[in-house]
Amino acid sequence: MRDSKNGSRSTLIVTLVALIALAGWVVACKTGGSSSDVMGGGDANSVIQERGLTPDDVYAAVKTYMPTGKHDEYLIMSSGGHSGQMMVIGVPSMRLLKVVGVFTPEPWQGWGYSNETREVLAAGRVEGRDITWADTHHPALSESDAEYDGDWVFINDKAHARMAVIDLRDFETKQIVKNPIALSDHGGAMVTPNTEYIIEGGQYAAPLGWSYASMEAYESDYRGMVTLWAFDRATGRIDPERSFALELPPYWQDLCDAGKGVSEGWAFCNSFNTEMALGGIESGNPPFEAGASQRDMDYLHIFDWKKAAELVADGRASQINGFDVLTLDVLTEEGVLYFVPEPKSPHGVDVSPGGEYFVVSGKLDPHVTVYSHEKIQQAIAEENFSGTDQYGVPIIDFDAAVETQIELGLGPLHTQFDDQGYAYTSLFLDTAVARWTLGGPYESLNPDAPWTLVQKLGVHYNVGHILAAEGDTASPDGNWLVALNKWAVDRFQNVGPLHPQNFQLIDIGEAGQTMQLLYDMPIGLGEPHYAQMIKADKIDSWDVYPEIGWDPIAQAVDENAVQAGEERIERNGKNVEIWMTAVRSHFTPERIEIQQGDKVVWHVTNIESAKDATHGLAIPAYNINLSLEPGESTTVEFEATTSGVYSYYCSEFCSALHLEMLGYLLVEPES
């Protein structure tokens, strides 16, 4: 099958190359081949020969090349890893379109320099400290009926258990919330099918609220958790008042996923230290890596989030740091939480498009284990439990819950789906992506036998997450798969010992053993974890703000926005308030004379409405750089503690007279 596919592909390539060559010849003839400023006219065949490209290379090039002015079909929203940002990447070109400031200051976007954006970042302070980095892991696009709706993206910070809300109308962060009961998370962000809740599963157990307890008290005082953040579409904000958490045993919960279709209302989280290992390698104890890997099975957590929400509404929650938490007693008493054994130290739990199955990968087990929602529900109804754990949580019998296990290879991690009944699982140790078939309702979608491995494709190297086009929704699109590789080793030019990560685009358009690697994209920003790929036409974003004077945080006209002619400076004692406009190529006012010690409130409105007519406002020495996109209004406050002459200027090249777009801030010394 592979050979015949390659055969037809070769024919296609020869035809394409011939067409390109012919087109080149036509252009060359038309222009006489003499004009140096005419594009084209090159001989594609000689380029292919000179560069030593194979037919597969040419196919990959033709599949991914994006001519100028053409747009990509899909957008990837990717974790920016340690940068605390989110990347936006086009598919199939794999071009980086934007790096959105989220948890950390981002100078170009003025993110974290204006009053409004400082306030958003301040909500992410931990114990009063500014946190200047984040370990962003899993972005989650908002969903309606378990389909991406293109409105919002949520992303977590594993290091501090924080969650951020990004609005896709302007690709800007609007809110950061800090989890009041946990310091680390991992199983977030995942959304329920209509974005009622954003799931944030914990990771490293600690006393809830991370107050002190010695490790001797691990089993009694340390706890895991999963938080359900209630999202309000009307305000575009997470509502902490309506949010709540589930107290869980201290098993180090890992990834989560929300049920959909037949399993809507349920959610699933892995765990990987049911041994409750305490570490202590320095004292001769087994290190965590060994201690947490002793048992053959850990517990997949299965919980009924709708019932949990009802219990919270009925006042059954306890308060920890002012946050609603359903304790283990309530969860077990009310039948909210169940466990089912899963091969040890698992990483991903991924729900099939229709919600019938969930796929768990035990990192140290060469199989993926496929659970049946129907069987689990039947086991719960029949109380087919093999017992309870020491915290009283019922454990569903493994054999009663499992649909099948499929041997794929070493180090299975994460699974995605396509529209042809295939599932794709990343194999970290094999450094490959496995294509395998689903059974049941998916059996008829491809010619391969159900529940079997079809193809393994090597990737470079040590793949973590993978993502397929809308591959975790109710109707995956197929066509494209991206492997998010942790190591690049030899894939790129050496740029020092800290190598870029490698995003590899894979063609999954055809059935059978036809997966082909298309493109390597280096990521030199941080270590991204998960990403999601959405059809680009689902996102309806603004190219300029809808009205002059727009406050992007409030998504409304700013009361301090001014139009041309309304600019002014007002003094009230030591307080100086400035209302400024920016337009090509001047600020109004251009001279601001104040006294040392004055408190300055500086409003500035970009009164432009042309695409790309963005202005910056840089105020050197006072650590201020604002980005004023067309129509945007923003405010910055500072105390003029030092005297001197400060030339403020436009920091975004806006026009031929951009350099002339400046003003003087004159701070007269205190007498």
Partner: protein
């Protein structure tokens, strides 16, 4: 009275030469209608093309306002010291709607005038497109030749008159000025008026002359006195 409005038709005459009388009426009616419709549409537009504006910029001149990328064009124009476009032709803009309705009513009035005075009533409408363009030219000239000498680019641009119709160049912009729907409708109205006046003459001139002959024979004895009084 008859001298002003021309001879009235007898019903017998109307029956006999119906088609001839209907034609000018129809032309004037449609012309008036087109003029009124033209109020709702732009009369003139200017398209500006530059590499960094792939979709171009456009300003549309309606009789009473400007539409399109006026703000952006004004923003760019400040570099050469041109005044904001909205300051042009303010008097004309405030009067134009009433004026066009008035001249359309005059055209309707021409329907009931059965002598050459009909042409006088239709004349403002007939000339309206030319008047519009002449006024437009005046303002383009006024704006293009009264540039602020202190503007950033004043030393690198000479005063100029943008073409009222056709192509021009300003800085990196290639401009095209085009008549828009309103001006086309108004021009059609003018043509219809011309055609209407021709049919009007065909239909009523024989009547007018017959009446004159009749009047001549009826009042021949008094002709001398009448002539004398006129003299």
């Amino acid at each position: 009275m008859e001298r002003l409005v021309g001879p009235r038709l007898s019903s017998e005459e109307l029956r006999r030469r119906k088609a001839e009388f209907v034609l000018p009426t129809l032309c004037f009616l449609v012309a008036a209608l087109l003029l009124v419709i033209s109020i709702l549409t732009p009369y003139w537009r200017l398209e500006l093309q530059a590499p960094q504006y792939p979709k171009g910029l456009e300003v549309k001149a309606y009789l009473n306002h400007l539409d399109g990328d006026v703000k952006e064009i004004d923003g760019l124009n400040h570099y050469i010291g041109m005044r904001p476009l909205g300051e042009a032709a303010q008097l004309e803009q405030s009067l134009s709607i009433i004026a066009v309705i008035a001249i359309a009513l005059l055209v309707l009035g021409a329907i009931v005038i059965h002598n050459r005075n009909a042409a006088l009533l239709a004349l403002p409408a007939l000339l309206f497109p030319v008047v519009f363009l002449a006024d437009m030219y005046y303002w383009l000239h006024n704006f293009g030749t009264n540039l602020d000498p202190r503007a950033p680019l004043s030393s690198s641009i000479e005063p100029f008159v943008p073409p009222i119709l056709g192509k021009g160049v300003v800085g990196q912009f290639a401009t095209v000025a085009l008549p828009d729907a309103g001006l086309i409708l108004a021009t059609l109205a003018s043509l219809l008026i011309l055609v209407g006046l021709y049919f009007h003459r065909q239909a009523y001139k024989p009547l007018v002359e017959r009446r004159r002959r009749q009047r001549g024979s009826e009042s021949a004895p008094e002709a001398g006195r009448e002539n004398g009084s006129v003299a």
